[in-house]
């Protein structure tokens, strides 16, 4: 089972993609509800996305 490294890498990407997608989706909903807060929501969305991507990359190195 030498190729399991790549299966792990694929799983990591799925996890990160789902997480960031969910955040992006709820950010869209929030902006739709209250367009004047879009600046703050955008900032928070970027921060959360960067954090999740950090975990993703850290795990990608282990795999």
């Amino acid at each position: 089972m030498t190729g399991l490294n790549f299966v792990g890498a694929g799983l990591i990407v799925i996890g990160a993609g789902l997480g960031i997608g969910k955040i992006g989706g709820s950010a869209m909903d929030a902006i739709a509800r209250q367009p004047e807060a879009s600046g703050k929501i955008q900032t928070a969305m970027l921060i959360a996305a960067a954090l999740i991507e950090g975990i993703g990359f850290a795990a990608l190195f282990a795999a």
Binding site: T43, L46, A50, E53, G54, F57
Partner: protein
């Protein structure tokens, strides 16, 4: 003392107000200009110039690599030299050549090479000093190492560059391998040399010093508004202060940390941008550089932390006493893991971006068809645009998270038992 502080606050606010007035005047003026055709023409020319500059930039990057591979196919094999190790100058396959070029862009090296031609032993660039500590300081220029093909002699010791690392050898330059080991068993001395990354860090530091020092000094003679290039940086500095520092650290203590936050933001941003140029410098995509930045963040949070910070980590109020030691251990680990994640995030983002970009450019030479190469070029171009965004974003994220940690360290509030 408090009156001077007060006057300083009013003084800085005054500067801010003037800036807003200037902005209002400019925007009104701009509106009138927008209606004239002259402005549209100028704007169009400016955007055209900018786009052509970007494409020229990236074509230069790709042609620099293209020249090497072209010459590789034309020239014949050079004779092997007597100090031959495993990687002597025999004809490399195409894929290995591309891998070597990618490594040249991603890894650090002891001399600053803009481009090289391994087959003809031609290197365009300049050598950097090599400083070794091996029972005494050895100092020589890296041209003595001759890019890994010759043995450098210094004070009776012989050193050879092998796979970008300096090893101590004998006069013949033999590299010894133990049985089945991955790395040679020669000793390698402590390496303090000025490599490419160190040189770029010093250069960027000098650039930032001159740039922002000049900007700060110019305020006096310009009546408290920024002129010229300062007009680009002032909103960014104010953004770092008003959107990153003050919300996270609080109005009382943010001034202590402002210098570090500003430095780190511009340092990472400029280094990321320089990594995208054809120079082949990849400073932030290097574990050690990001580790140094993360260590500095850790030291600052540890040594400027208030009592409340340690209370929250070690003996948190509002938690049953039995659980407190367990949570204290986890929180202590957390203090180390947070800067560690800062390091990994910056390193991985930049390194991954460069690897993918270089691989796609290399793909352009593997697809020798009429459709594959332009498509790869287009993809490389789009990815480079994304990399520009990532450069600024990573700098912003690093600064924001550092501000968050500083804010957690320096916050003080009264709390009851049930927090």
């Amino acid at each position: 003392m408090s009156t001077t502080k007060q006057t300083f606050e009013i003084y800085s606010l005054k500067k801010y107000r003037k800036y807003i007035l200037v902005l209002k005047y400019n925007s009104i003026h701009l509106h009138k200009i927008l209606e004239t055709k002259n402005y549209k023409c100028k704007m169009f020319k400016k955007t055209l110039f900018f786009i052509s500059l970007i494409t020229l930039f990236f074509t230069v990057k790709t042609t620099a690599q293209h020249d090497q591979t072209k010459e590789h196919e034309v020239t014949h094999v050079t004779p092997q030299d007597t100090h031959s190790t495993e990687h002597s100058t025999k004809k490399l396959s195409f894929k290995d050549q591309i891998k070597a070029d990618i490594n040249h862009h991603l890894l650090d090296s002891h001399s600053f090479d803009f481009t090289h031609d391994k087959e003809n032993h031609k290197y365009y660039g300049f050598p950097l000093p090599v400083i070794l500590w091996d029972n005494g300081i050895h100092f020589f220029m890296s041209s003595k190492l001759k890019h890994g093909e010759d043995v450098a002699e210094s004070n009776g010791n012989y050193y050879k560059l092998y796979h970008s690392k300096i090893y101590k050898t004998d006069a013949q330059g033999t590299i010894n391998y133990e049985e089945g080991a991955k790395y040679p068993s020669n000793i390698s001395p402590l390496d303090f040399s000025i490599t490419k990354s160190v040189f770029m860090i010093m250069l960027v530091g000098l650039l930032m010093f001159l740039l922002f020092g000049g900007l700060a000094k110019s305020y006096k003679s310009n009546g408290m508004i920024a002129k010229g290039a300062g007009r680009f940086f002032e909103p960014i500095i104010l953004y770092v202060r008003d959107e990153i520092a003050i919300p996270n650290i609080g109005q009382k203590h943010y001034k202590k940390y402002m210098s570090f936050l500003l430095t780190v933001f511009f340092f990472i941003w400029f280094l990321n941008l320089l990594g995208l140029t054809p120079l082949g410098v990849n400073v932030t995509g290097n574990f050690t550089v990001t580790a140094a930045l993360a260590i500095m963040v850790y030291l600052i949070t540890t040594f400027t932390a208030k009592k409340d910070y340690w209370m929250h980590i070690l003996w948190m109020p509002g938690v049953p006493v039995i659980l407190r030691p367990v949570l204290a251990l986890i929180e202590l680990l957390g203090t180390i893991i947070k800067p560690f994640s800062l390091m990994i995030r910056l390193y991985a983002n930049i390194m991954a971006g460069h690897v993918v970009l270089m691989s796609i450019i290399g793909l352009m030479f593997i697809f020798k068809s009429w459709i594959g190469s332009p498509l790869s070029f287009g993809l490389a171009f789009l990815l480079s645009l994304l990399e520009l965004l990532v450069a600024a974003l990573q700098a912003y994220i690093f600064t924001m998270l550092s501000a968050l940690y500083f804010g957690a360290a320096s916050e003080e509030h009264e709390h009851e038992e049930a927090h």
